[in-house]
Protein backbone atom coordinates (compact mmCIF):
# COMPACT_ATOMS: atom_id res chain seq x y z
CA UNK A 1 0.00 0.00 0.00
CA UNK A 2 2.71 2.44 0.98
CA UNK A 3 4.59 1.55 -2.19
CA UNK A 4 1.50 2.30 -4.27
CA UNK A 5 1.39 5.66 -2.57
CA UNK A 6 5.11 6.23 -3.19
CA UNK A 7 4.77 5.47 -6.90
CA UNK A 8 1.66 7.63 -7.09
CA UNK A 9 3.34 10.58 -5.37
CA UNK A 10 6.39 10.49 -7.60
CA UNK A 11 4.29 10.15 -10.70
CA UNK A 12 2.01 13.01 -9.73
CA UNK A 13 4.93 15.30 -8.87
CA UNK A 14 6.54 14.41 -12.20
CA UNK A 15 3.58 16.01 -13.99
CA UNK A 16 4.54 19.31 -12.47
CA UNK A 17 8.30 18.83 -12.73
CA UNK A 18 7.82 18.59 -16.48
CA UNK A 19 5.76 21.08 -18.51
CA UNK A 20 2.99 18.57 -19.21
CA UNK A 21 1.00 19.23 -16.02
CA UNK A 22 0.96 22.97 -16.64
CA UNK A 23 0.03 22.50 -20.29
CA UNK A 24 -2.91 20.26 -19.45
CA UNK A 25 -4.22 22.41 -16.62
CA UNK A 26 -3.67 25.55 -18.69
CA UNK A 27 -5.54 24.15 -21.67
CA UNK A 28 -8.50 23.07 -19.62
CA UNK A 29 -8.59 26.41 -17.82
CA UNK A 30 -8.63 28.32 -21.09
CA UNK A 31 -11.05 26.14 -23.05
CA UNK A 32 -13.46 25.26 -20.22
CA UNK A 33 -13.34 28.88 -19.01
CA UNK A 34 -14.04 30.41 -22.39
CA UNK A 35 -16.87 28.07 -23.24
CA UNK A 36 -18.30 28.63 -19.78
CA UNK A 37 -18.35 32.38 -20.20
CA UNK A 38 -19.79 32.26 -23.69
CA UNK A 39 -22.57 29.79 -23.00
CA UNK A 40 -23.36 31.30 -19.59
CA UNK A 41 -23.82 34.74 -21.12
CA UNK A 42 -25.87 33.24 -23.96
CA UNK A 43 -28.06 31.51 -21.43
CA UNK A 44 -28.50 34.78 -19.56
CA UNK A 45 -29.58 36.45 -22.81
CA UNK A 46 -32.09 33.68 -23.44
CA UNK A 47 -33.67 34.05 -20.00
CA UNK A 48 -34.02 37.81 -20.58
CA UNK A 49 -35.90 37.34 -23.79
CA UNK A 50 -36.85 33.72 -24.53
CA UNK A 51 -39.07 34.46 -27.52
CA UNK A 52 -36.12 35.99 -29.36
CA UNK A 53 -34.43 32.60 -29.27
CA UNK A 54 -37.67 30.79 -30.25
CA UNK A 55 -38.31 29.48 -26.73
CA UNK A 56 -41.87 29.78 -25.41
CA UNK A 57 -40.77 30.06 -21.80
CA UNK A 58 -37.54 30.44 -19.85
CA UNK A 59 -35.72 27.15 -20.51
CA UNK A 60 -34.62 24.87 -17.73
CA UNK A 61 -31.16 25.90 -16.55
CA UNK A 62 -29.89 22.41 -15.82
CA UNK A 63 -31.12 21.04 -19.10
CA UNK A 64 -29.93 23.75 -21.42
CA UNK A 65 -26.80 24.92 -19.67
CA UNK A 66 -25.38 22.91 -16.80
CA UNK A 67 -25.47 19.33 -18.02
CA UNK A 68 -24.44 20.08 -21.64
CA UNK A 69 -21.58 22.13 -20.21
CA UNK A 70 -20.46 19.27 -17.97
CA UNK A 71 -20.66 16.79 -20.84
CA UNK A 72 -18.59 19.22 -22.89
CA UNK A 73 -15.99 19.36 -20.10
CA UNK A 74 -15.98 15.58 -19.97
CA UNK A 75 -15.38 15.37 -23.71
CA UNK A 76 -12.63 17.95 -23.42
CA UNK A 77 -10.96 15.98 -20.65
CA UNK A 78 -11.41 12.86 -22.74
CA UNK A 79 -9.28 14.36 -25.48
CA UNK A 80 -6.70 15.71 -23.05
CA UNK A 81 -6.13 12.43 -21.20
CA UNK A 82 -3.67 11.08 -23.78
CA UNK A 83 -1.38 13.90 -22.58
CA UNK A 84 -1.69 12.59 -19.02
CA UNK A 85 -1.37 8.90 -19.72
CA UNK A 86 1.17 8.81 -22.54
CA UNK A 87 4.19 8.93 -20.29
CA UNK A 88 3.02 6.59 -17.54
CA UNK A 89 4.71 3.38 -18.70
CA UNK A 90 5.97 4.19 -22.20
CA UNK A 91 8.36 6.79 -20.83
CA UNK A 92 9.77 4.35 -18.28
CA UNK A 93 10.46 1.93 -21.08
CA UNK A 94 11.95 4.58 -23.31
CA UNK A 95 14.32 5.90 -20.63
CA UNK A 96 15.16 2.47 -19.30
CA UNK A 97 13.84 3.34 -15.85
CA UNK A 98 11.50 0.38 -16.27
CA UNK A 99 14.51 -1.76 -15.43
CA UNK A 100 14.90 0.21 -12.22
CA UNK A 101 11.20 0.08 -11.38
CA UNK A 102 10.81 -3.63 -12.07
CA UNK A 103 13.82 -4.57 -9.95
CA UNK A 104 12.49 -2.73 -6.91
CA UNK A 105 10.58 -4.81 -4.38
CA UNK A 106 7.23 -3.87 -5.91
CA UNK A 107 4.25 -5.91 -6.95
CA UNK A 108 2.79 -5.22 -10.37
CA UNK A 109 -0.39 -3.93 -8.81
CA UNK A 110 1.57 -1.36 -6.79
CA UNK A 111 3.10 -0.01 -9.98
CA UNK A 112 -0.12 -0.03 -12.00
CA UNK A 113 -2.42 1.37 -9.34
CA UNK A 114 0.20 3.90 -8.29
CA UNK A 115 0.33 5.22 -11.82
CA UNK A 116 -3.43 5.01 -12.30
CA UNK A 117 -4.00 6.97 -9.09
CA UNK A 118 -1.51 9.62 -10.12
CA UNK A 119 -3.36 10.08 -13.40
CA UNK A 120 -6.64 10.24 -11.47
CA UNK A 121 -4.98 12.94 -9.36
CA UNK A 122 -4.35 14.94 -12.53
CA UNK A 123 -7.97 14.34 -13.50
CA UNK A 124 -8.97 15.69 -10.09
CA UNK A 125 -6.84 18.77 -10.68
CA UNK A 126 -8.56 19.32 -14.02
CA UNK A 127 -11.96 18.91 -12.37
CA UNK A 128 -10.97 21.49 -9.77
CA UNK A 129 -10.45 24.00 -12.57
CA UNK A 130 -13.93 23.22 -13.87
CA UNK A 131 -15.36 23.53 -10.35
CA UNK A 132 -13.96 27.06 -10.12
CA UNK A 133 -16.25 27.97 -13.02
CA UNK A 134 -19.17 26.29 -11.29
CA UNK A 135 -18.55 28.35 -8.17
CA UNK A 136 -19.00 31.51 -10.22
CA UNK A 137 -22.19 30.02 -11.58
CA UNK A 138 -23.41 29.14 -8.07
CA UNK A 139 -23.15 32.81 -7.19
CA UNK A 140 -25.82 33.66 -9.76
CA UNK A 141 -28.02 30.60 -9.99
CA UNK A 142 -29.32 27.97 -7.62
CA UNK A 143 -28.96 24.53 -9.13
CA UNK A 144 -30.34 21.17 -8.15
CA UNK A 145 -27.57 19.42 -6.21
CA UNK A 146 -28.10 15.98 -7.84
CA UNK A 147 -27.50 17.44 -11.27
CA UNK A 148 -24.28 19.02 -10.06
CA UNK A 149 -23.02 15.99 -8.16
CA UNK A 150 -23.87 13.42 -10.81
CA UNK A 151 -22.69 15.77 -13.52
CA UNK A 152 -19.27 15.99 -11.91
CA UNK A 153 -19.29 12.26 -11.27
CA UNK A 154 -19.98 11.73 -14.96
CA UNK A 155 -17.03 13.86 -15.94
CA UNK A 156 -14.86 11.98 -13.46
CA UNK A 157 -15.96 8.58 -14.72
CA UNK A 158 -15.42 9.60 -18.33
CA UNK A 159 -11.92 10.74 -17.46
CA UNK A 160 -11.16 7.61 -15.46
CA UNK A 161 -12.23 5.38 -18.36
CA UNK A 162 -10.02 7.25 -20.77
CA UNK A 163 -7.14 7.09 -18.31
CA UNK A 164 -7.38 3.32 -18.03
CA UNK A 165 -7.42 3.07 -21.82
CA UNK A 166 -4.39 5.36 -22.00
CA UNK A 167 -2.58 3.43 -19.28
CA UNK A 168 -3.00 0.24 -21.24
CA UNK A 169 -1.80 1.80 -24.48
CA UNK A 170 1.15 3.23 -22.57
CA UNK A 171 2.01 -0.23 -21.28
CA UNK A 172 2.36 -1.66 -24.77
CA UNK A 173 4.13 1.22 -26.51
CA UNK A 174 7.75 2.25 -26.37
CA UNK A 175 7.59 6.01 -26.72
CA UNK A 176 5.37 8.75 -25.36
CA UNK A 177 4.49 10.00 -28.83
CA UNK A 178 3.33 6.58 -29.96
CA UNK A 179 1.37 6.07 -26.78
CA UNK A 180 -0.29 9.50 -26.91
CA UNK A 181 -1.12 9.24 -30.58
CA UNK A 182 -2.67 5.79 -30.33
CA UNK A 183 -4.74 6.72 -27.28
CA UNK A 184 -5.92 9.90 -28.95
CA UNK A 185 -6.71 8.03 -32.15
CA UNK A 186 -8.76 5.35 -30.43
CA UNK A 187 -10.68 7.95 -28.43
CA UNK A 188 -11.35 10.03 -31.52
CA UNK A 189 -12.49 7.07 -33.61
CA UNK A 190 -14.87 5.92 -30.87
CA UNK A 191 -16.18 9.45 -30.52
CA UNK A 192 -16.82 9.93 -34.23
CA UNK A 193 -18.34 6.47 -34.66
CA UNK A 194 -20.61 7.08 -31.70
CA UNK A 195 -21.88 10.30 -33.19
CA UNK A 196 -22.41 8.74 -36.62
CA UNK A 197 -24.02 5.68 -35.07
CA UNK A 198 -26.83 7.76 -33.66
CA UNK A 199 -28.04 8.33 -37.21
CA UNK A 200 -28.05 4.64 -38.05
CA UNK A 201 -31.62 3.37 -38.42
CA UNK A 202 -32.65 0.68 -36.00
CA UNK A 203 -34.42 -1.38 -38.65
CA UNK A 204 -32.77 -4.26 -40.47
CA UNK A 205 -30.91 -2.83 -43.51
CA UNK A 206 -31.28 -6.01 -45.62
CA UNK A 207 -33.79 -5.59 -48.51
CA UNK A 208 -37.25 -7.07 -48.08
CA UNK A 209 -36.90 -9.43 -50.99
CA UNK A 210 -33.93 -11.40 -49.56
CA UNK A 211 -34.44 -14.88 -48.13
CA UNK A 212 -35.67 -14.95 -44.54
CA UNK A 213 -32.69 -16.67 -42.90
CA UNK A 214 -30.16 -14.37 -44.56
CA UNK A 215 -32.20 -11.36 -43.53
CA UNK A 216 -32.37 -12.42 -39.93
CA UNK A 217 -28.63 -13.20 -39.81
CA UNK A 218 -27.83 -9.79 -41.26
CA UNK A 219 -30.30 -8.32 -38.80
CA UNK A 220 -28.58 -9.89 -35.82
CA UNK A 221 -25.12 -8.71 -36.87
CA UNK A 222 -26.42 -5.27 -37.72
CA UNK A 223 -28.08 -4.86 -34.34
CA UNK A 224 -24.91 -6.05 -32.63
CA UNK A 225 -22.67 -3.71 -34.60
CA UNK A 226 -25.02 -0.79 -34.14
CA UNK A 227 -25.27 -1.47 -30.43
CA UNK A 228 -21.48 -1.51 -30.10
CA UNK A 229 -21.02 1.66 -32.11
CA UNK A 230 -23.65 3.53 -30.17
CA UNK A 231 -22.89 2.22 -26.69
CA UNK A 232 -19.12 1.79 -26.69
CA UNK A 233 -17.90 5.41 -26.90
CA UNK A 234 -17.02 6.92 -23.56
CA UNK A 235 -19.27 9.94 -24.02
CA UNK A 236 -22.34 7.88 -24.99
CA UNK A 237 -23.36 7.25 -21.41
CA UNK A 238 -22.72 10.74 -20.16
CA UNK A 239 -25.67 12.83 -21.33
CA UNK A 240 -28.44 11.35 -19.24
CA UNK A 241 -26.26 10.89 -16.23
CA UNK A 242 -25.16 14.51 -16.32
CA UNK A 243 -28.85 15.44 -16.08
CA UNK A 244 -29.05 13.56 -12.80
CA UNK A 245 -30.77 10.56 -14.33
CA UNK A 246 -28.55 7.83 -12.95
CA UNK A 247 -28.93 4.36 -14.30
CA UNK A 248 -26.90 1.45 -12.95
CA UNK A 249 -26.07 0.41 -16.49
CA UNK A 250 -24.23 3.68 -17.16
CA UNK A 251 -22.17 3.48 -13.97
CA UNK A 252 -21.50 -0.20 -14.67
CA UNK A 253 -20.33 0.73 -18.16
CA UNK A 254 -17.69 3.12 -16.84
CA UNK A 255 -16.53 0.79 -14.09
CA UNK A 256 -16.28 -2.16 -16.47
CA UNK A 257 -14.55 -0.09 -19.13
CA UNK A 258 -11.87 0.98 -16.64
CA UNK A 259 -11.57 -2.47 -15.10
CA UNK A 260 -11.15 -4.08 -18.50
CA UNK A 261 -8.25 -1.88 -19.53
CA UNK A 262 -6.58 -2.10 -16.13
CA UNK A 263 -6.84 -5.86 -16.45
CA UNK A 264 -5.16 -5.65 -19.86
CA UNK A 265 -2.44 -3.45 -18.39
CA UNK A 266 -1.70 -6.14 -15.80
CA UNK A 267 -1.41 -8.75 -18.52
CA UNK A 268 0.82 -6.48 -20.60
CA UNK A 269 3.19 -5.86 -17.69
CA UNK A 270 3.21 -9.53 -16.78
CA UNK A 271 4.10 -10.54 -20.29
CA UNK A 272 7.75 -9.79 -19.51
CA UNK A 273 7.75 -13.02 -17.50
CA UNK A 274 6.98 -15.26 -20.42
CA UNK A 275 8.02 -13.29 -23.47
CA UNK A 276 11.50 -14.01 -24.84
Amino acid sequence: MSSTWAVCKREFKAYFLTPIGYVVVGLIAIIAGMSFSISFITHADITQNPSLYSYTAVPDFEETFLSPYLVFCGTLIMFLTPLITMRLLAEERNRGTIEFLLTQPLRDREIIFGKFLAALGMLGTMLLVVVVNLFIMGYFVRVEPPVLIFGLLTVFLMGASCISLGLFVSSVTKTQIMSGTVTFGVTLILFILGNLGEDMPEANPAPEGWPGTLRSVIGIFYTLARGLIVELPVDAHAREMALGIVQPVDIAYYVLFSAFFIFLTFRALESRNWRG
Partner: protein, 251 residues
Protein backbone atom coordinates in the same frame (compact mmCIF):
# COMPACT_ATOMS: atom_id res chain seq x y z
CA UNK B 1 24.40 -16.10 -1.51
CA UNK B 2 24.08 -16.21 -5.28
CA UNK B 3 23.64 -19.65 -6.77
CA UNK B 4 23.17 -20.18 -10.49
CA UNK B 5 22.46 -23.61 -11.93
CA UNK B 6 22.22 -24.44 -15.61
CA UNK B 7 21.02 -20.97 -16.53
CA UNK B 8 20.11 -20.61 -20.20
CA UNK B 9 18.55 -17.71 -22.02
CA UNK B 10 17.54 -17.61 -25.65
CA UNK B 11 16.52 -14.52 -27.57
CA UNK B 12 14.65 -16.24 -30.35
CA UNK B 13 17.10 -18.75 -31.81
CA UNK B 14 20.12 -16.93 -30.40
CA UNK B 15 21.56 -18.17 -27.13
CA UNK B 16 22.67 -15.22 -25.03
CA UNK B 17 23.57 -17.38 -22.06
CA UNK B 18 24.03 -21.12 -22.17
CA UNK B 19 24.12 -23.52 -19.25
CA UNK B 20 25.71 -21.10 -16.82
CA UNK B 21 26.47 -22.39 -13.33
CA UNK B 22 28.35 -20.59 -10.61
CA UNK B 23 28.18 -19.60 -6.97
CA UNK B 24 29.02 -16.49 -5.04
CA UNK B 25 29.44 -16.87 -1.30
CA UNK B 26 28.45 -14.38 1.32
CA UNK B 27 30.81 -11.43 1.66
CA UNK B 28 32.65 -12.19 -1.57
CA UNK B 29 33.36 -9.72 -4.35
CA UNK B 30 33.31 -11.54 -7.63
CA UNK B 31 34.20 -10.11 -11.01
CA UNK B 32 32.10 -11.11 -13.94
CA UNK B 33 34.24 -10.74 -17.03
CA UNK B 34 33.72 -11.10 -20.69
CA UNK B 35 33.92 -9.28 -24.00
CA UNK B 36 31.00 -7.21 -25.23
CA UNK B 37 28.00 -9.35 -25.97
CA UNK B 38 29.17 -12.25 -23.84
CA UNK B 39 25.96 -12.40 -21.84
CA UNK B 40 27.00 -10.48 -18.72
CA UNK B 41 24.07 -8.08 -18.69
CA UNK B 42 21.62 -10.82 -19.60
CA UNK B 43 22.77 -12.89 -16.64
CA UNK B 44 22.46 -9.91 -14.35
CA UNK B 45 18.98 -9.16 -15.60
CA UNK B 46 17.94 -12.71 -14.82
CA UNK B 47 19.52 -12.53 -11.37
CA UNK B 48 17.57 -9.39 -10.56
CA UNK B 49 14.30 -10.97 -11.70
CA UNK B 50 13.94 -8.41 -14.47
CA UNK B 51 14.04 -10.91 -17.33
CA UNK B 52 13.02 -14.55 -17.26
CA UNK B 53 15.47 -17.35 -17.99
CA UNK B 54 14.62 -19.91 -20.65
CA UNK B 55 15.96 -22.76 -18.52
CA UNK B 56 17.79 -23.32 -15.29
CA UNK B 57 17.51 -21.61 -11.99
CA UNK B 58 19.08 -18.79 -10.06
CA UNK B 59 18.82 -18.28 -6.34
CA UNK B 60 19.56 -15.20 -4.32
CA UNK B 61 19.81 -15.86 -0.57
CA UNK B 62 17.93 -19.09 -1.17
CA UNK B 63 15.03 -17.56 -3.09
CA UNK B 64 14.47 -18.59 -6.67
CA UNK B 65 14.26 -15.52 -8.88
CA UNK B 66 11.27 -16.63 -10.89
CA UNK B 67 9.27 -18.05 -7.99
CA UNK B 68 9.93 -15.42 -5.33
CA UNK B 69 10.82 -12.30 -7.28
CA UNK B 70 9.68 -10.04 -4.48
CA UNK B 71 11.92 -11.68 -1.87
CA UNK B 72 14.81 -11.55 -4.30
CA UNK B 73 14.25 -7.89 -5.09
CA UNK B 74 14.16 -7.05 -1.38
CA UNK B 75 17.69 -8.41 -1.07
CA UNK B 76 19.42 -6.87 -4.03
CA UNK B 77 20.76 -3.53 -5.04
CA UNK B 78 21.11 -3.34 -8.80
CA UNK B 79 22.96 -0.93 -11.01
CA UNK B 80 21.88 -1.69 -14.59
CA UNK B 81 24.20 -1.16 -17.51
CA UNK B 82 22.10 1.75 -18.74
CA UNK B 83 21.80 3.79 -15.56
CA UNK B 84 18.09 4.40 -15.07
CA UNK B 85 17.35 7.83 -13.68
CA UNK B 86 14.35 10.10 -13.50
CA UNK B 87 16.04 13.13 -14.99
CA UNK B 88 13.42 15.60 -13.83
CA UNK B 89 14.11 14.80 -10.19
CA UNK B 90 16.62 16.24 -7.76
CA UNK B 91 19.26 13.77 -6.51
CA UNK B 92 17.98 13.62 -2.93
CA UNK B 93 14.34 13.30 -3.82
CA UNK B 94 15.18 10.46 -6.20
CA UNK B 95 17.13 8.67 -3.48
CA UNK B 96 14.33 9.25 -0.99
CA UNK B 97 11.93 7.72 -3.47
CA UNK B 98 14.18 4.67 -3.77
CA UNK B 99 14.32 4.41 0.03
CA UNK B 100 10.54 4.51 0.12
CA UNK B 101 10.23 1.78 -2.49
CA UNK B 102 12.75 -0.38 -0.68
CA UNK B 103 10.67 -0.07 2.46
CA UNK B 104 13.19 1.87 4.54
CA UNK B 105 11.24 3.13 7.57
CA UNK B 106 10.38 6.82 7.39
CA UNK B 107 12.56 7.78 10.36
CA UNK B 108 15.67 6.25 8.81
CA UNK B 109 15.23 7.56 5.28
CA UNK B 110 17.15 10.79 5.79
CA UNK B 111 20.18 9.07 7.35
CA UNK B 112 20.05 6.32 4.75
CA UNK B 113 20.02 8.80 1.88
CA UNK B 114 22.73 10.91 3.55
CA UNK B 115 24.95 7.87 3.92
CA UNK B 116 24.50 6.82 0.30
CA UNK B 117 25.31 10.37 -0.85
CA UNK B 118 28.41 10.42 1.31
CA UNK B 119 29.67 7.03 0.17
CA UNK B 120 29.30 7.90 -3.48
CA UNK B 121 30.81 11.37 -3.11
CA UNK B 122 27.58 13.09 -4.03
CA UNK B 123 26.97 15.26 -0.97
CA UNK B 124 27.76 18.51 -2.79
CA UNK B 125 25.46 17.51 -5.66
CA UNK B 126 22.54 16.53 -3.46
CA UNK B 127 20.26 19.33 -4.60
CA UNK B 128 21.10 19.26 -8.29
CA UNK B 129 18.67 18.19 -10.93
CA UNK B 130 19.72 14.77 -12.22
CA UNK B 131 19.35 15.97 -15.81
CA UNK B 132 22.10 18.54 -15.21
CA UNK B 133 24.65 16.09 -13.84
CA UNK B 134 27.62 14.89 -15.85
CA UNK B 135 27.84 11.27 -16.91
CA UNK B 136 30.16 10.37 -14.06
CA UNK B 137 27.85 11.88 -11.47
CA UNK B 138 24.85 10.16 -12.99
CA UNK B 139 26.78 6.93 -12.67
CA UNK B 140 27.32 7.72 -8.99
CA UNK B 141 23.64 8.41 -8.46
CA UNK B 142 22.97 5.01 -9.99
CA UNK B 143 25.42 3.48 -7.57
CA UNK B 144 23.94 5.35 -4.61
CA UNK B 145 20.52 4.08 -5.62
CA UNK B 146 21.76 0.50 -5.48
CA UNK B 147 23.22 1.01 -2.00
CA UNK B 148 20.05 2.38 -0.43
CA UNK B 149 18.52 0.07 2.14
CA UNK B 150 21.90 -1.72 2.35
CA UNK B 151 20.81 -4.84 0.51
CA UNK B 152 22.94 -7.93 1.23
CA UNK B 153 23.57 -8.58 -2.46
CA UNK B 154 24.82 -5.97 -4.89
CA UNK B 155 24.75 -6.55 -8.60
CA UNK B 156 26.68 -3.87 -10.42
CA UNK B 157 26.78 -3.82 -14.19
CA UNK B 158 29.90 -1.89 -15.21
CA UNK B 159 29.93 0.49 -12.25
CA UNK B 160 32.97 2.51 -13.31
CA UNK B 161 31.97 3.26 -16.89
CA UNK B 162 32.12 6.95 -17.69
CA UNK B 163 34.01 7.98 -14.60
CA UNK B 164 37.23 9.97 -14.66
CA UNK B 165 40.38 8.33 -13.28
CA UNK B 166 40.08 10.02 -9.90
CA UNK B 167 36.47 8.98 -9.57
CA UNK B 168 37.29 5.43 -10.61
CA UNK B 169 39.78 5.19 -7.75
CA UNK B 170 37.19 6.56 -5.32
CA UNK B 171 34.47 4.20 -6.46
CA UNK B 172 36.83 1.25 -6.30
CA UNK B 173 37.72 2.19 -2.76
CA UNK B 174 34.06 2.33 -1.97
CA UNK B 175 33.37 -1.06 -3.50
CA UNK B 176 36.28 -2.52 -1.57
CA UNK B 177 34.65 -1.16 1.55
CA UNK B 178 31.56 -3.23 0.77
CA UNK B 179 33.45 -6.47 1.31
CA UNK B 180 32.18 -8.71 4.13
CA UNK B 181 28.99 -6.79 4.68
CA UNK B 182 27.71 -7.27 1.16
CA UNK B 183 28.01 -9.90 -1.50
CA UNK B 184 28.99 -8.18 -4.71
CA UNK B 185 28.89 -9.30 -8.32
CA UNK B 186 30.56 -6.79 -10.64
CA UNK B 187 30.57 -7.04 -14.37
CA UNK B 188 33.25 -5.21 -16.25
CA UNK B 189 35.66 -5.49 -19.09
CA UNK B 190 38.30 -3.42 -17.39
CA UNK B 191 40.69 -6.14 -16.29
CA UNK B 192 42.94 -4.32 -13.81
CA UNK B 193 39.78 -3.40 -11.94
CA UNK B 194 38.99 -7.04 -11.33
CA UNK B 195 42.54 -7.73 -10.26
CA UNK B 196 42.30 -4.92 -7.72
CA UNK B 197 38.81 -5.51 -6.38
CA UNK B 198 37.82 -9.09 -6.65
CA UNK B 199 38.76 -12.26 -4.87
CA UNK B 200 37.44 -14.36 -7.67
CA UNK B 201 36.67 -13.93 -11.32
CA UNK B 202 34.27 -15.63 -13.66
CA UNK B 203 35.10 -15.16 -17.31
CA UNK B 204 32.34 -15.81 -19.78
CA UNK B 205 32.35 -15.75 -23.52
CA UNK B 206 29.55 -16.45 -25.98
CA UNK B 207 27.24 -17.17 -23.08
CA UNK B 208 29.43 -19.86 -21.50
CA UNK B 209 31.83 -19.85 -18.59
CA UNK B 210 35.34 -20.23 -19.96
CA UNK B 211 37.32 -19.69 -16.76
CA UNK B 212 36.48 -19.40 -13.11
CA UNK B 213 38.82 -19.30 -10.17
CA UNK B 214 40.32 -17.30 -7.37
CA UNK B 215 42.43 -14.43 -8.59
CA UNK B 216 45.72 -15.87 -7.34
CA UNK B 217 44.98 -19.28 -8.87
CA UNK B 218 43.99 -17.75 -12.17
CA UNK B 219 47.22 -15.86 -12.53
CA UNK B 220 49.41 -18.55 -10.96
CA UNK B 221 47.99 -21.55 -12.80
CA UNK B 222 48.74 -20.13 -16.20
CA UNK B 223 52.45 -19.97 -15.45
CA UNK B 224 52.70 -16.35 -14.36
CA UNK B 225 50.32 -15.03 -16.97
CA UNK B 226 48.63 -11.76 -16.28
CA UNK B 227 44.86 -11.62 -16.14
CA UNK B 228 44.93 -9.90 -19.48
CA UNK B 229 46.79 -12.76 -21.11
CA UNK B 230 44.43 -15.30 -19.60
CA UNK B 231 41.45 -13.33 -20.76
CA UNK B 232 42.78 -13.10 -24.31
CA UNK B 233 43.60 -16.78 -24.36
CA UNK B 234 40.24 -18.09 -23.12
CA UNK B 235 38.21 -15.62 -25.08
CA UNK B 236 40.02 -16.01 -28.39
CA UNK B 237 40.22 -19.81 -28.33
CA UNK B 238 36.54 -19.99 -27.64
CA UNK B 239 35.79 -17.37 -30.21
CA UNK B 240 37.46 -19.37 -32.95
CA UNK B 241 35.30 -22.41 -32.19
CA UNK B 242 31.92 -20.91 -31.79
CA UNK B 243 31.92 -17.45 -33.30
CA UNK B 244 30.21 -18.54 -36.48
CA UNK B 245 27.46 -20.37 -34.64
CA UNK B 246 26.41 -17.78 -32.14
CA UNK B 247 27.37 -14.58 -33.82
CA UNK B 248 25.21 -11.67 -32.85
CA UNK B 249 24.23 -12.76 -29.37
CA UNK B 250 23.39 -9.65 -27.45
CA UNK B 251 24.59 -8.78 -24.01
Amino acid sequence: MIAVEGLTKYYGPIAAVEDLSFQVDQGEIVGFLGPNGAGKSTTMRILTAFAPATRGEARIAGFEVHQDPLEVKRRIGYLPERVPLYEEMVVTSFLRYVAELKGVPRAQRTTEVGEALERCGLSHMANRLIANLSKGYKQRVGLAQALIGSPPVLILDEPTVGLDPAQIVEIRQMIKGLRDKHTVLISTHILPEVAMLCERAIIINQGRIVAEDKMENLTKGGGGESLEEIFMRVVSSDRADTATVKKGATA
